[in-house]
């Protein structure tokens, strides 16, 4: 249960800076702060559920990627003293971080530990709350060279976009990368095992290959960590560990909608409830709302069935895109759902997505939205 009198804070990353929206207790009125780092592309702002630090993945157009950190109780952003970077390699072939894409707070027993994913696909860890970062050698130098032949440059570049830490075991990690697939480690990232059985990959010459798949978003349920969901290039899937074969729950979506999309949002307490935002994946993949009619789809039974939620959304002629980090749920007792669009609109789906209302328009293209239940830095 959460404090229903607490404000909800939305951390919004855009292609031209970061914005912070703070609600009143009823989540009826929203106050905008920002932009922060106007002109920088902000892939994600992530709040630490353990201590309140915010991390921001930013890239000023000319100057390469970096990480900014805002400690709990402060209003100032501090640049990482050593941002994520690959090791220097003599001669040709060394990789350089193009941008930091995502963060994941470490286990509750490891305060100050964070993980970051990058493009090109890399995994990094900080042990000092985001001030300095080191590569996770088991991924960057161990797994990646073995699978790089299967890693393709998707339109945004190859990305390690999803990281999850098992809340029961600090050494148990999952990551997902486009392309490459889902991988699991049980030793803090020293060794990795592919976890892609059952996932369609018709674009590969050998579809039953152990890796090379294209997950768009991976989520582990915080209250039931054996329940995994992924929105893939080729459908929506669920996996209940210790099983290792994914089930395509997107087959239950309406045929004319399909199960292609980018983001995936899980109810904070109910492992059977999730939301997706279908995108047009036909022909050349326009990645816009299907037929120009945006809708969120919710399942309350683990993906066995889906309900369309479009009340309040434009009924037609809306051709926006919702990116993989731009769909989220807050943690209030009656959670709201949120998404941001590539055309700079921010929407709230009140009553678990039953009624949609626009919070903001005319922002820069929105790359990510994260909901925080209370303002840790206020």
């Amino acid at each position: 249960m959460t404090d229903s009198s607490a404000a909800t804070v939305l951390l919004v990353g855009t292609s031209k800076g970061a914005f912070v929206f703070t609600s009143d207790a009823a989540r009826a009125q929203w106050t905008l702060a920002g932009p922060y780092f106007l002109g920088s592309s902000v892939n994600e702002i992530r709040a630490d559920p353990r201590g309140g630090t915010w991390l921001m993945a930013a890239k000023a157009g000319h100057l390469g990627p970096t990480v900014y950190r805002r400690a709990a109780g402060t209003q100032e952003w501090q640049e990482a003293q050593r941002p994520p970077a690959f090791p220097k390699v003599e001669g040709e072939g060394g990789r350089s971080v193009g941008h930091v894409f995502c963060f994941c707070a470490g286990h509750a027993s490891e305060p100050g530990v964070w993980y970051a994913g990058s493009s090109p696909a890399g995994l990094f860890r900080s042990q000092d709350d985001g001030l300095t970062w080191d590569g996770v050698a088991g991924f960057n130098d161990g797994l990646y060279p073995q699978i790089k032949h299967a890693v393709m440059e998707v339109p945004g570049g190859s990305i390690l976009h999803s990281i999850a830490v098992d809340p029961r075991d600090a050494a148990h990690l999952y990551v997902a990368l486009s392309t490459g697939g889902v991988f699991e480690s049980t030793d803090r990232g020293a060794n990795w095992t592919p976890l892609n059985a059952g996932v369609a990959a018709p674009f590969l010459p050998e579809p039953d290959t152990p890796y090379g798949h294209d997950p768009h978003c991976l989520a582990v349920h915080p209250a039931q960590p054996d329940r995994l969901y992924q929105q893939n290039h080729c459908g929506i899937y669920r996996l209940d560990r210790p099983a290792t074969r994914w089930t395509r729950i997107g087959d239950a979506m309406p045929r004319d909608i399909g199960d292609i999309g980018f983001g995936l949002a899980l109810h904070p307490r109910d492992p059977d409830m999730l939301w997706v935002f279908p995108m047009d994946g036909t022909d050349v993949w326009p990645r816009t709302c299907l037929d120009g009619r945006p809708a969120v789809y919710r399942s309350s039974d683990g993906g066995a069935s889906w309900q369309r939620q479009d009340r309040g959304l434009p009924p037609q002629h809306a051709w926006f895109t919702v990116k993989r980090q731009a769909l989220c749920v807050d943690a209030q007792d009656a959670p709201n759902v949120y998404f941001g669009t590539g055309s700079g609109e921010l929407w709230v789906g009140e009553k678990a997505g039953a009624n949609w209302r626009q919070i903001a328009a005319h922002l820069p293209p929105i790359l990510s939205v994260q909901a925080v239940s209370s303002p840790p830095c206020a």
């Binding site: 000319h62 100057l63 390469g64 640049e79 970077a85 690959f86 220097k88 060394g94 350089s96």
Partner: protein
């Protein structure tokens, strides 16, 4: 020697558009700049010691393509954040 800093990097130099730094090569100069203004170097070159795609460096108005370019105390180094993108 005199180093001219582009506006996107003024946040590192306290607003200064030029400064003094030392080094017998461009690599040494950037290391000295980073000692004076922490974090500045990584904005100019990446972890593979490559000058970032949208950065140009000129020594006495001649393009410097690698960090091995030799420098003398009287040289002028111009760092440019290239115009690019929308």
């Amino acid at each position: 020697m005199r180093v001219i800093i582009p506006s996107p990097l003024h946040g590192y130099t306290g607003g200064a558009s030029e400064c003094e730094a030392e080094g017998a090569t461009l690599a040494e100069l950037l290391a000295d700049l980073d000692r004076r203004y922490a974090g500045l170097r990584f904005r100019i070159v990446d972890e593979q010691e490559r000058i970032r795609v949208h950065i140009r460096i000129y020594v006495n108005r001649q393009p410097a393509l690698t960090l091995a370019v030799p420098l003398a105390a009287a040289d002028e180094v111009l760092i440019v954040a290239a115009l690019s993108g929308g």
